[in-house]
Symmetry: C2
Subunit: 432 residues, 2 copies
């Protein structure tokens, strides 16, 4: 077999990592696929930019067409990011019978199904392991490794930026804004961190994970999202006191019929394996009916880890080329979309309130909960912090989202409640 | 495509799980492979045995030939255990062009290479995900997920029985014999636990893992093995005091040229992710040059978890059948065997000595270490336990195995040393 020619769309952090791995691991790759793999052309924005990798400048181009229309290019690796114009490039490359490897979770969460269909119709592979949890081979784990099982639940720490921030806030007792600044200085958070800290990035990954795990097309707008920007030192303090760690957790559940998917700050028992996933690391917990609990842990981002996933996908494409089976390995979803309504989603909740320091307030609050059929697992009433105000921290037993939202609204309207300071999901029970 | 017929060799714990999953998940399987999968024949020892699964008694046979020679059977699932006669059956099935899925680590550690060659020559798949770490899809993780990376180190808790025993000894302060009895009563340890507690079972799995991870044929006899039978409550007590957890750890290292593989009781820093793998759970830590650290965690044994891995392999076989690529996906090792000698294997060690309670003893001991170029990271000298005897606990800095073994021998010969009570590897540094 002649060598394989690869075109790269993008030469940022991840693209540079891909070039590095293809260069440095050429022997390993050649042994596995039986022929050399060469980068033939790379799309960049600025030809004259100084780069920290060695790359022949004749490989660089500012014209995407030079890659996606080059008949000699077999595989297009998309690491440029973006959605609309990128989608156009990828579709055109597919029409030109090029296999695609992408790290683009935005693209896959929004247009994955359309692109996978186009790829399959054109006999092309479209692989996207790198789009979720960087270097962790979780998509393969779900699709191949646990192929025979029925996945009932996925829980993921799938955004490294927010996990870094929450870890530092927790370990060093610092405020959100301070840690965000630190994360930006260290390169763990972007100048505009919104997509990370508002939970959107994690939501995209959970849409991809749950689509694969449950064999049901889950769209981005099906994922209920709450970010971490409102989390305070007080919240972390109480979480700790109650035996929990706060994580931005993606949760997807399948009860055999209906599905719910969310990304929310969640209190996890300290003893849960996900609670000890620190800093920028990611992990995905998978519950299968037969296998029980498994966890996949590793770096969720970074140049080389993400590039590892991309080049492993590339190896998969090339193996399929040698076997002549490209475009025939994808599986379309087995089930039609069937989402739970708020009255069917059950969770425990953590709620922190500032209330008037008056007689009878607690009775008013508890009666709102009991009217809505929700009971307490724990309640802390805390010393007055400010004049005429005291703090109440509640962990509920399992409640439907419908009932819980009704309670929140009634509390809002209660004159004895000064402010609902915070409200988070709670997963499992802490021993404390 | 007509349905796929499967023959089972064995109907014990794992075999029953396989029958259950094929029955219960038929829809999921059919969606993935596009045709029904049926169990056609099952080899058992005793036709009249009462079983806790529903299975048509007409499927049972006591004749292996009825399975391995049946032209209608496409895939043989080997879950009978054993080595020599089992190998005969598997080879004959392969010659009869049957694909093989096996959970048999003994067979794969001893004859994997021969069987894989035979399978490939006959256009057959031979998959064995279930042979290592039960329900954890670690072999796929190494072969596919991290295909593009160079694995430099593998660390695995790959034996559930010993991990259960060490967890209970540590958490409940009980003696080895007591916990072994408990594990046997709970079904976590066999009546004859030798293969587990002597480390042999883990060694087989490390041979399989390192062969795949390093692309170098590692045989069982290349794995240095030490079991857990000598571990005492005192050892665990000191480990804890020093900030470590004791685990039976498989370690395989590849320095780019040479390889070393061992299974030994090892002190791991409490903060290491593997240190919180408890009870019968397994986990494999993988270090890749590019990806950094990843971990795969899950149930290492049990009927349904192991069966999940087997049926997922079966799905892989059937997908390959549909694509017409069976027997073409295995990769032969890239490198010839190249093992480190004892003078090239470096580790830290934990050593516990009973010595005569005399002046000058410590000086004698320390001079033996310094003569051999080995220095201490920590040394505890403990109050006299028995008359005229005191205890010394040492954690060394990194030393070559050669130097360390010389030290052990010189200590043995020293009249001031009453007894070398214990000697274990130490991985990493505890914060304490």
């Amino acid at each position: 077999m002649k060598g394989i020619s690869v075109g790269l769309l993008g030469l940022g952090t991840v693209g540079s990592g891909v070039v590095r791995i293809i260069d440095n691991h050429q022997d390993t790759l050649m042994h596995q696929v039986g022929c050399p793999i060469m980068v033939k052309k790379v799309l960049v924005q600025d030809l004259s930019k100084v780069r920290d990798i060695k790359i022949d400048s004749s490989l660089l181009t500012t014209s995407a067409a030079e890659i996606i229309s080059d008949p000699e290019i077999d595989v297009v690796i998309e690491v440029m990011g973006g959605v609309e114009s990128t989608k156009g490039y990828v579709l055109e490359a597919i029409r030109n019978k090029k296999h695609i490897v992408t790290a683009n979770k935005d693209l896959m969460a929004l247009y994955g199904s359309e692109l996978l269909t186009a790829a399959s119709e054109n006999g092309c592979d479209l692989f996207y392991e790198a789009s979720v949890a960087g270097g962790i081979p979780i998509l393969r784990g779900l699709v191949d490794g646990l192929a025979s099982d029925r996945i009932t639940k996925l829980m993921g720490i799938v955004n490294g930026t927010t996990n870094f921030i929450l870890t530092k806030m927790d370990q060093e007792g610092l405020a959100y804004e301070k840690v965000l600044k630190m994360a930006q200085d260290l390169g763990f958070a972007e100048a505009n961190p919104a997509a990370d800290v508002e939970g959107l990035d994690a939501a995209r990954k959970m849409a991809i994970l749950s689509t694969l795990g449950f064999s049901m097309k889950i769209d981005l707008e099906d994922v209920k999202v709450q970010g971490i920007t409102g989390i305070t030192e007080e919240d972390l303090h109480y979480a700790k006191q109650l035996g929990y760690k706060m994580k931005l957790l993606g949760t997807a559940q399948h009860d055999g019929e209906k599905v719910e998917v969310s990304v929310q700050p969640t209190l996890l028992p300290e003893t849960h394996p996900l609670a000890s996933v620190h800093n920028e690391y990611n992990a995905v917990y998978v519950y299968g009916e037969a296998v029980g609990e498994t966890m996949f842990y590793g770096p969720g981002a970074g140049s080389l880890p993400t590039a590892t996933a991309i080049v492993s996908d590339l190896v998969g494409v090339v193996k399929n080329m040698r076997l002549g089976v490209n475009g025939r390995t994808a599986i379309t979803p087995q089930f039609g979309k069937n989402l739970k309504g708020p009255e069917e989603m059950y969770s425990k909740y953590f709620l922190r309130l500032h209330v008037k320091d008056e007689i009878g307030v607690l009775a008013e609050i508890t009666s709102i909960f009991s009217e809505n059929g929700v009971s307490f697992e724990k309640i802390l009433q805390l010393p007055v912090r400010k004049k005429e105000s005291s703090e109440i921290v509640i962990v509920t037993h399992k409640a439907s989202l419908k009932n819980y939202e009704d309670i929140l609204q009634m509390l809002e309207e209660l004159s004895a409640v000064n402010e609902i300071k915070s409200s988070y999901k709670v997963e499992g029970s802490a021993g404390a």
